[in-house]
């Protein structure tokens, strides 16, 4: 049976790779292939579930292969199957199957027909990886795949401004969620003294015994998980990305933002429930966030005058309630709620264009000129204020802007004295000093040595900040991000001995991606004078292949699960001891911001309205 389960999980991934090689012009083949793959998958899941129920619904854990093993770190892929997985995989496969069937005709003749299908397949592979994951590391791989496919589908209409802008927004918020998972992974490593599986986490006695003496760590992990769940499930204060993600073809919005992707935060909480449930503070926090989001989500939803944003906020509010149900310990209720919400919103999104004819007919036959609702009974001042507040989405965007994006930009601006000419005069000497110190470490006083990892990690982080605000020179931005990796490795090496093997493991991905990126940038600059990062340039119109290559390079450099660097990140984290919260924070922040910077770089160069005007270009406001 175990073998069967493995095939199950890896099947969509294999299908994704095959779909990349299907001929672009053969719609029938592409859509038929996807239909067959997911349809069969759906049927086998039903079969498997029947079998699983008949043998007593036991939990299944399969330790798959190791990706990396050393004395203090064992990085392995692990799968787990229980009732939560059962529900998520059944709902997921059913909806994906229906949406793919729907899209076979819907997408007919659309530019990017193939792109749509392979992205959905990739998404489906990531989804399965996440819901079948047996440990956080495996889940994180699926999680990241969902992030990148979300970006690609929101920006499906890549020649327009708004989809690309909103795709970046969605991606950035997902990245914030990633900080949560990265830090949760690091902390749980110290908490459990091993790479813990969910199976073990479900052992309440184990959790209890570990919590004694590490209570604070327990709270930290739970809060980081909550952060990740909030970002992914569009809870306060991250809700505003959800309606803005509705830029792709309607079925993709339905499956991602109506149903599956947006409920993954709930999944993360369900998965780790036995862990955070044991602690009062996180439970209260989860309940509060959920309830608060439910209330403001519903109030924002009430004033939405476009169909899709109305559905999005209605869904956000329901997910808030699911969080609340979880906090109260109603696991089954939450699972039922998830499934019902996913089905309802998917269908509502799919029929959303019908709203025009249906509601106009309703209006035609049942019109009342003055509407009564609860708010009519409020005082005028309260009514107007609440209405405007809801129209402004409770200023959530401004909140994020004020506390996250503005400070980041500000940091970068402070560093703007480092320009393309002088930046390397600062960077290289400091690095060389660091290297020398490393080599001759015996001559440094110990308290200095203790500080060095933080100092170097922080300097590395500054490079990322600088890259984040770099708008003119693409090469400077690229180089700074690349160098950050070197600084981080140096910083960690002050901490603990990094073996050569580990270093090579980490750098292989970085260097390959870095070189690939340079090549594309160089080639692009030779062809197109004046590439910069000030605006979207849409070069994918002429150079789709370079665009794909550059995206790969960006993902590699950002440490996505396509290269060894992804595991390398985890290796680095394993060398951070439990009392170095700052170091862990600098590192994760660095990864997160470099990820955003890189994807934005890609978007600015290759996506958006084309700078060349020899063909029709969409309005910027569309």
């Amino acid at each position: 049976m175990d073998k069967f389960l493995e095939i199950f999980i890896l099947w969509p991934m294999a299908a994704f790779f095959i779909s990349l090689f299907l001929p672009k012009s053969n719609e029938k083949l592409i859509s038929g292939f996807s239909f067959g793959v997911v349809g069969l998958h759906f049927i086998s899941i039903i079969g498997f579930l029947a079998y699983w129920i008949s043998v007593g619904r036991g939990n299944i854990n399969i330790q798959e292969f190791s990706l990396y093993k050393s004395e203090n770190l064992h990085y392995f892929i692990d799968f787990y199957f229980d009732h939560v997985t059962a529900v998520y995989s059944l709902v997921g496969s059913m909806l994906t199957f229906l949406v793919i069937t729907y899209s076979r005709i819907y997408l007919h003749r659309e530019d990017g027909f193939k792109r749509f299908f392979y992205t959905i397949l990739f998404f489906y592979a990531g989804y399965n990886l996440a819901v079948y994951a047996g440990n956080l590391e495996t889940l994180f791989i699926g999680w990241e795949i969902l992030g990148i496919t979300s970006f690609l589908l929101v920006a499906f209409y890549r020649e327009r401004y708004l989809p690309v802008k909103n795709a970046l927004k969605v991606f950035s918020i997902y990245r914030i969620g990633d900080v949560g998972i990265l830090l949760a992974m690091w902390a749980s490593h110290h908490f459990w003294h091993e790479n813990v599986t969910f199976e073990k986490m479900h052992d309440i006695n184990q959790v209890q015994s570990h919590l004694q003496g590490h209570a604070l760590f327990g709270v930290f992990i739970s809060i980081m998980l909550l952060l990740a769940a909030c970002a992914k499930s569009a809870q306060f204060p991250f809700s505003s990305w959800l309606p803005r993600a509705m830029e792709g073809p309607t079925p993709s919005s339905a499956i991602f933002y109506g149903s599956l992707s947006v409920h993954l935060g709930v999944f993360l909480l369900l998965r780790t429930m036995s862990f955070w449930e044991q602690q009062l503070l996180p439970s209260i926090l989860i309940g509060t966030v959920g309830l608060f989001t439910a209330i403001i989500g519903a109030s924002i939803g009430r004033v939405q005058s476009s169909v899709k944003s109305q559905i999005a906020y209605a869904s956000v509010a329901q997910i808030g309630l699911i969080f609340f149900e979880l906090a109260l310990g109603f696991e089954t209720l939450a699972l039922v709620h998830f499934a019902g919400n996913a089905f309802l919103r998917t269908y509502q999104l799919l029929v959303s264009p019908s709203a025009v004819s249906y509601l106009i007919r309703e209006q035609f036959y049942h019109f009342e000129s003055k509407h009564q609702n609860i708010e009519t009974h409020f005082s005028k001042k309260l009514e107007y204020s609440l209405f405007l507040l809801s129209i402004k989405e409770w200023n959530m965007d401004e909140l994020l802007d004020k506390f996250i994006w503005k400070p980041l930009k500000h940091m970068g601006t402070l560093l703007s004295f480092l320009n393309s000419r002088n930046v390397f005069y600062f960077v290289i000497p400091t690095y060389v000093i660091g290297l020398l110190v490393k080599i001759t470490s015996y001559s440094i006083p110990p308290f200095m040595l203790d500080l060095l990892p933080e100092i170097y990690a922080f300097l590395g982080l500054l490079l990322v900040f600088r890259a984040y605000s770099e708008r003119r020179n693409v090469f400077v931005g690229w180089t700074l991000i690349l160098m950050n990796h070197f600084w981080v490795v140096l910083a960690i090496s002050f901490n603990d001995t990094l073996s050569l093997y580990e270093t090579i493991y980490y750098f292989t991905g970085v260097i390959v991606a870095g070189l690939l990126g340079y090549t594309v940038l160089y080639a692009l600059q030779k062809k197109e004078a004046g590439i910069d990062l000030n605006r979207f340039q849409g070069h994918v119109y002429e150079y789709p292949r370079w665009s794909a290559a550059f995206l790969t390079a960006c993902l590699g450099l950002a440490g996505f699960p396509i290269s060894t660097t992804f595991v390398g990140e985890d290796i680095l984290f394993s060398h951070i001891s439990y009392d170095q919260v700052f170091l862990a924070f600098y590192l994760s922040l660095g990864f997160v911001i470099s990820g955003i910077t890189l994807i934005r770089m890609f978007a600015r160069l290759f996506l958006g309205p084309h700078v060349k005007r020899y063909h029709a270009i969409a309005q910027r406001s569309s």
């Binding site: 729907y102 004033v303 899709k308 109305q310 025009v356 406001s621």
Partner: protein, 830 residues
């Protein structure tokens, strides 16, 4: 043309703006019109050049597209040479041909618009549009919303700006972040010019600035302008004006700038070094443009030549007396073109006519239980009559997926736990076996076939909504007479005369109204068909008609019907006769219609690549019907796509021609209209209606991104009045890509059968009508009724035209449907 508005006058500029903004009405009243109507006072080629240079539209195919068409034979070299010769003179042929085929030009569709306002970003490093538009659109949409939001806009029935002031006065949550903008808002004397003084400073730039600003979101501005001019286009009326919108937007801009720079910043006009070129300054037609224009003409005439060649080869029938089994009136709509051909083919005794599908009866229609009445005649007409539907127990089915309560917190909670699961089943069913649902727009639901209609006005009915209920006998007789005379049906009446309106059915289609009958203001034509039949069957009406020279025999009856162009189904009204012989006859005719529909569906199916042509006729028919109820089908039918012709004349002229559903066809008999009076009425309607449809298709096709609505797959419904991409985008007027992708952008060719001198006099009767022809927005050809010679209208006069094309004679046209998906050439049917 030189515009020098040195002294800025707000009213003039707003008027000017409104003229150029898109004028598409809210979705429920989708009416086709010339997208570039503002340029119609100029010659077509001059106009599209100006529109392109000023607003950055792509107004023709690109050079490479034309060259591709040439290589694939869709532009004939002979025609191309002729075009060059007529436009450039004899000696120039080789030189221009060389330029067209090999000349190196780079396409460039960047306009002057936005040049001024771009300086905010360049000089002040501030992105005003990004900061303001999302909020502005959301607020505007909430204000205009017709029924999506659950919490309706709280201030009711005041003007836009008054509403904003009222809210600003009573809120803890200001519109603005800085004091100055707030103060300016509350100062009722503050006008556009004062705000522009703060923002721009230089009066000569004001107009340009407003154009830049409003054309940054032409969709919303255009909608506001339309609602301002025709408040009745919203059922739930709203008071708004472009003026108010501009003030609000200017205030938001000042607020943003104050927020960034404090109150001391230099107006834009004082900081720019070089003034941008005047928006409406002269536009030079460059050689590149001339090349494009030559290509366009060659493209058009390649097709026209086929059609005219075909017409010249049609054999003139002997005026033998044919036995007429039945007669049928259809709409002039291009979608009825093939249906008529099949009806005539299956029953050679059938005689068909074309006329605008409101059948000359103009009125508002109020269905049973309706709270409003809807116009069912051409949009420019304002009828004085009301027709009411009467029937007991009329119910409409509901669908909870659109209900408010699914979005609320607590009911939503209950629903997701319960009927949320029903959604999954519904989705399964709908995807694998598409079927009718309450969400489907079905043409037959427009009017219940068992209902009564209040057609006749007996004198005692009270007026309703200021309209007379029903028509008096004389009013009826006038309308029947005018209709019959205009199509030339004044004698030889068959036992049954069918009057067939048309409508369309679809689901998940925001542009559903654009699929129905254009002559009925985007509604199905069933009521009109029934109303006309009632009138023509009325004994007193017939008596009056007799006195006016039209004798309808007592044995003749008029019978209403509706053809659903998407589903290819037909429904007959009031078809229970006491006379058994009539019943028999009707049953026989019904079969003819049914067979014709089947074959019509097959002809249509060839364009839907997703339906295999190898299927049996029945299965294919089922597939075609399924499209109208499939949620996932963005092309239920192809509507007016590929339209290119409008033929006004006797059916004999085109009866043997295969025109591939590309022609609007209006029946007209010049022999009973020597003065061209009926012709004038036909042209007066056909030029703007068919021309409008044709040009909207043309522009949506050549620039689907700016002049069309783009692909419909990501569309989001905004306030039930329009569609946008995503939630922060501007409204997208124009036609979505799925409607126009198979359309060849050629102008309409009107072919009228009459003496050229009569046609010339007719079109010159009003300047509005003449403008269409003299400015070349539509082409015109007259067919000489005596000898079928062809006369082309050019530069104000008719000259004889000799077509080169020799049409193939084809016996079985249907074999082409199995292999061809593109436009077919004109054939002569054996």
């Amino acid at each position: 043309m030189k515009h020098t508005i040195d002294i800025f006058r707000v009213d003039n500029v707003i008027h000017h703006l409104k003229h150029y903004l898109p004028s598409q009405a809210p979705l429920k009243d989708f009416i086709h019109h010339n997208t570039l109507h503002a340029f119609q006072d100029r010659k077509f080629f001059q106009a599209i050049t100006e529109a392109s240079n000023i607003f950055g539209y792509k107004t023709s195919l690109s050079l490479s597209e034309y060259r591709m068409l040439f290589l694939s034979g869709k532009i004939q070299v002979g025609v191309l040479e002729k075009v060059i010769q007529s436009r450039k003179g004899k000696g120039q042929q080789e030189e221009w041909k060389q330029k067209m085929l090999q000349g190196e030009y780079s396409d460039n569709f960047a306009g002057r618009r936005s040049h001024l306002r771009n300086h905010w970003k360049d000089l002040y490093n501030i992105d005003l549009d990004l900061a303001i538009q999302p909020f502005l659109f959301r607020f505007l949409c909430s204000y205009l919303d017709q029924g999506i939001a659950i919490w309706r806009f709280p201030v009711w029935n005041k003007g836009f700006l008054t509403t904003i002031r009222e809210m600003e006065r009573n809120t803890f949550n200001s519109f603005f972040k800085t004091p100055r903008a707030r103060k300016l808002l509350m100062d009722r004397k503050c006008e556009i010019i004062d705000l522009l003084q703060i923002l721009v400073g230089d009066e000569t730039l004001f107009e340009h600035y407003l154009f830049d600003q409003q054309f940054a979101h032409p969709g919303w501005s255009g909608m506001v302008s339309v609602i301002e001019d025709t408040p009745q286009s919203l059922l739930d009326a709203r008071r708004i004006s472009l003026h108010d919108l501009i003030i609000f937007e200017l205030l938001l801009e000042i607020d943003q700038l104050d927020r960034k720079f404090g109150e001391n910043w230099l107006p834009l006009g004082l900081r720019i070094e070089k003034k941008p070129e005047h928006l409406f300054a002269n536009v030079e037609v460059t050689e590149y443009r001339e090349v494009l224009h030559l290509w366009q003409e060659a493209f058009e005439w390649t097709y026209y030549d086929q059609v005219l060649g075909g017409i010249s080869k049609v054999t003139v029938r002997n005026e033998e007396v044919r036995k007429v089994d039945f007669q049928a009136l259809f709409c002039i709509d291009d979608r009825e073109c093939s249906f008529r051909r099949y009806v005539e083919d299956i029953d050679p005794g059938a005689e068909t006519f074309g006329t605008p599908g409101f059948f000359g009866v103009e009125f508002y229609y109020k269905p049973m239980n309706g709270k409003f009445s809807m116009k069912v005649c051409p949009a420019p007409v304002t009828p004085k009559y009301l027709i009411k539907e009467e029937i007991e127990n009329k119910t409409t089915k509901k669908d909870f997926h659109f209900a408010d309560y699914t979005h609320s917190l607590f009911f939503g909670w209950l629903i997701t736990h319960s009927i949320g699961f029903w959604s999954a089943i519904r989705l399964f069913i709908n995807i694998f076996t598409p079927r009718l649902s309450p969400a489907t727009t079905l043409s037959f639901r427009h009017m219940d076939r068992f209902s009564r209609l209040s057609v006749e006005h007996f004198g005692h009915e009270q007026p309703e909504d200021g309209l007379q209920v029903g028509f008096t006998v004389t009013e009826m007789a006038d309308r029947v007479e005018a209709l019959l005379k205009s199509i030339g049906l004044v004698g030889d009446f068959a036992p049954i005369v069918y009057v067939v309106g048309h409508g369309a059915s679809s689901v998940n289609n925001t542009h559903y109204a654009g699929y129905d009958c254009g002559a009925c203001s985007g509604r199905p034509g069933s009521v009109n068909a029934r109303v006309l039949c009632y009138m023509a069957n009325h004994l007193e009406v017939r008596q009056i008609l007799k006195s006016r020279g039209i004798t309808i025999p007592a044995t003749t009856i008029f019978l209403g019907a509706l053809h659903d162009t998407t589903r290819d189904e037909i429904e007959f009204y009031d078809d229970q006769f006491t006379d058994a012989g009539k019943n028999q006859l009707h049953l026989k005719n019904k079969e003819v219609f049914q067979k014709a529909l089947l074959r019509n569906a097959r002809e249509r199916a060839r364009r839907f690549v997703t339906i295999s042509p190898k299927l049996s006729l029945r299965r294919l028919y089922k597939k075609v019907k399924d499209r109208s109820v499939s949620l996932f089908e963005p092309r239920p039918e192809l509507n007016h796509a590929t339209n290119a012709l409008c033929i006004i004349g006797r059916r004999d002229m085109t009866k043997d021609l295969f025109l591939d559903r590309r022609a609007f066809m209006n029946s007209y008999d010049c022999t009973i209209d020597p003065e061209g009076n009926s012709l004038f009425h036909i042209l007066k309607a056909a030029a703007p209606v068919c021309g409008g449809i044709n040009l909207e298709y043309y522009f949506s096709r050549v620039d689907n991104l700016k002049l069309g609505a783009g692909t419909k797959l990501p569309h989001n419904v905004m306030g039930l009045i329009g569609v946008a991409n995503g939630i922060d985008g501007d409204l997208r007027p124009g036609l979505p890509n799925q409607m126009v992708e198979v359309h060849d952008p050629v102008r309409l060719l009107i072919i009228a059968e009459h003496y050229p001198e009569v046609v010339l006099k007719t079109i010159q009767r009003t300047p509005e009508l003449y403008e269409w022809f003299i400015n070349e927005w539509v082409h015109l050809v007259a067919i000489h009724p005596d000898n079928r010679t062809i006369w082309r209208f050019e530069e104000g006069s008719f000259t004889e035209y000799m077509p080169d094309y020799q049409p193939d004679v084809v016996g079985n046209i249907e074999k082409h449907f199995e292999t061809e998906v593109d436009n077919l050439p004109v054939f002569l049917i054996k």
